[in-house]
């Protein structure tokens, strides 16, 4: 994963609540076995509707509970492939939020009114190290789990980080792991 530090640029607006991952990337595109090339199918059905406009910009500002529904990581893949580097919303669905942080797509939670202001401002600068977003003459702090922020800032490979704790995993397996079920002998 590439380190995430500063994201600056124009803001695309999708002013809707409860945008589900079926809309972000419909099921017919989940049959691919690759991780790339999903951007062109982003919001496939909505993009065909009259009046739809979602330019490719570094930042997407959107409504509450963004990314609800299916756990498909194809949704963050599509958003990232389309050009987004950060998504700002009043709240995110849990699995989607986690999926974004795993691929270096930065989810930023701001109060609903602040997201509205950001939508109006049209341009922003996000500094992950300072946990700060600046737009329209305002500077706001945002919350992010410190460990998640560290991994994003350093572009760390999660598996590599966990394997540094291999001793602890082996100790758990030796001392505390539950007995069964053993799937290989069912």
């Amino acid at each position: 994963m590439e380190p995430v530090r500063l994201i600056e640029g124009a803001v695309s607006v999708l002013d809707r609540d409860d945008v589900d991952t079926d809309q972000i990337i419909p099921k017919q595109f989940l049959k691919r076995v690759e991780r790339t090339g999903f951007g062109e199918f982003l919001f496939h059905d909505w993009a065909k509707q009259p009046g739809w406009e979602l330019p490719s910009n570094p930042i997407l500002a959107t409504g509450r509970n963004f990314g609800c529904g299916s756990s498909r990581e194809h949704a963050p893949w599509a958003l990232e492939d389309y050009g987004f580097e950060a998504i700002v919303a009043p709240s995110f669905a849990d699995i989607f939020y986690s999926n974004c942080t795993k691929i270096g797509l930065l989810p930023v939670v701001l109060a609903e009114d602040d997201v509205r202001d950001l939508m109006a401002a049209g341009h922003a600068r996000i500094d992950l190290e300072e946990q700060e977003i600046a737009f329209g003459g305002r500077q706001l702090q945002f919350e992010i789990d410190p460990e998640t922020a560290r991994r994003l800032l350093e572009g760390l490979d999660d598996i590599g980080v966990t394997l540094q704790q291999l001793d602890a995993i082996e100790r758990y397996e030796a001392e505390r792991e539950r007995t069964g079920p053993v799937t290989t002998t069912v």
């Binding site: 809707r16 609540d17 409860d18 589900d20 079926d22 809309q23 419909p26 099921k27 017919q28 989940l30 049959k31 691919r32 076995v33 690759e34 991780r35 059905d45 509450r64 509970n65 609800c68 529904g69 299916s70 756990s71 498909r72 990581e73 194809h74 963050p76 709240s91 995110f92 669905a93 849990d94 699995i95 986690s98 999926n99 795993k102 691929i103 789990d145 460990e147 999660d158 598996i159 980080v161 966990t162 394997l163 704790q165 602890a168 995993i169 758990y172 397996e173 505390r176 792991e177 539950r178 007995t179 069964g180 079920p181 053993v182 799937t183 290989t184 002998t185 069912v186």
Partner: protein, 453 residues
């Protein structure tokens, strides 16, 4: 200090701070290929194939195909074949097409007995919350996390908050677990559970069958919850006992400890009167847009609801009982188990599907299908004009050929009524198996409590 059921399972699985051990990793063909590919590129093995289990479900045709090679859609075929090849290469047991154990991942786990109380269970699928019905901590993950679990058998997790939803009273006649959970989502909202693990409790939950409990926990994600869980009891133990992977004897002393202690603190508490619930029908494009079957399509209160009405081609004020249907789908990880099919068959028996309706039943697994056939349920459905299919996710998400056409209106026992979920432009209404069965016969929604058939 008193602990919640969730605390107990969490504490027993914390390898180090923020690192959770995974007892069972379920895998399917759609969210795993990129994870296996990354492992291969990094030269990493699957750490614990003996705690991993795969099946093909999302993409499989329900026409009785018994091998991946028979799948006509090329991309679907490649995906199922890729799963089989990955599992062979990494030593992971897989039940693909042709296996008598194949089926929807959240149906076969409990069925084989690999889902047990006190476990941590993950899968690259949001409906993994289903397994919480057994008193397990079970939740969906993305593909990067699938890869992480394959490589390390652990997951990096911040501990979510806890919520208890306690039900009082008694579910009325004809009101099912599906209505209970739809009514709950209608009440708390589709983001009401975000950031929380939800424990369902109270006498109405204790009275539910395991199938009913799975339906409730399954739809936790539709209320935004990270996981849903129910303390195991005799109903659970009887269900698990004797299954292939179940311990013999069951460690009942240990399992009976898996409950929230008196005085345990939850971050959020909700109380719902189950007696007040009626059969539910969704009218919009999120599971929270739901009303009593005796109600009407509501006036839109914001732009999102107006957009939902437009998509659904419905007008505010229309009684739910006047909504005419084109299709009925009985199936999905929410409602495709033998108990669900028995309930639907009981309604259907002796009736005919309305001539305007195309109705199908998709059992959740090959074993559910075989059991239903042994009981003659397939004959009941066929005689009524239902299409009796083979096992898979099918029209719940329409990745296989079972999709609704643009504009078609579907009564569905599945879990999501999102735009386009069951087919581009298709309009989905979520209901219980009984309600779907009666709707198939009448060609419109009816109140199962007063329907005379």
């Amino acid at each position: 200090m008193p602990k919640t059921l969730f605390d107990k399972i969490w504490d027993a699985h914390e390898v180090a701070e923020g690192l959770l051990y995974v007892d069972l990793h379920l895998v399917h063909e759609v969210t795993s290929p990129q994870a296996f590919e990354s492992l291969r590129l990094a030269g990493r093995p699957v750490r614990r194939p003996d705690r991993t289990l795969a099946t093909a479900d999302h993409n499989v045709p329900t026409d009785g195909s018994s091998a991946a090679a028979q799948i006509r859609d090329r991309l679907s075929r490649v995906q199922v074949e890729t799963l089989e090849r990955n599992c062979r290469e990494f030593g992971v047991p897989v039940y693909s097409l042709g296996s008598e154990r194949q089926g929807i991942v959240h149906v076969i786990g409990p069925e084989l007995g690999v889902t047990q109380p006190g476990m941590t269970i993950v899968c690259g699928d949001s409906h993994t919350s289903t397994h919480g019905a057994f008193g397990a901590l079970a939740f969906g993950i993305g593909t990067s996390e699938v890869e992480h679990v394959l490589a390390t058998q652990t997951l990096q997790q911040r501990k979510p908050r806890s919520m208890r939803i306690r039900y009082e009273g008694e579910l009325g006649h004809g009101v099912t677990a599906k209505d209970l959970v739809l009514g709950t989502i209608g009440r708390i909202g589709v983001d009401g559970g975000v950031g929380h693990v939800i424990e369902y409790a109270g006498p109405p939950i204790e009275r539910l069958s395991m199938e009913g409990r799975m339906t409730v926990c399954n739809m936790t994600i539709e209320g935004g919850g990270r996981a849903g869980m129910i303390a195991p009891d005799d109903t659970t133990f009887e269900w698990v006992e004797g299954r292939e992977a179940a311990p013999d004897p069951l460690p009942l002393g240990e399992w009976r400890e898996l409950r929230s202690d008196d005085g345990a603190r939850f971050d959020t508490e909700v109380v719902i009167d189950a007696s007040a619930l009626s059969p539910q029908v969704t009218w919009g494009t999120t599971p929270g847009m739901v009303v009593d079957v005796t109600g009407a399509v509501p006036e839109p209160s914001h732009e999102g609801e107006q957009r939902a009405l437009d998509y659904m081609a419905l007008e505010a004020g229309t009684p739910m009982s006047e909504i005419k249907l084109d299709r009925v789908f009985i199936g999905s990880c929410t409602n495709s188990r033998i108990g669900d099919l028995r309930e639907a068959a009981e309604v259907v028996k002796g009736h005919r599907v309305a001539s305007s309706v195309n109705a199908m039943v998709v059992p959740g697994s090959q074993r559910v299908k075989a059991q239903a056939e042994a009981e003659g349920l397939d004959e009941v459905f066929r005689a009524a004009g239902f299409d009796w299919r083979s096992a898979g996710c099918s029209m719940c998400l329409g990745m296989n050929p079972d999709i609704a056409a643009p504009g078609e209106r579907v009564a569905s026992t599945s879990n999501r009524n999102f735009e386009g979920r069951q087919g581009r432009g298709a309009r989905s209404h979520l209901v219980s198996p009984k309600m779907a069965a009666a709707a198939a016969i009448e060609g419109r929604f009816v109140d199962i409590r007063t329907w005379e058939g």
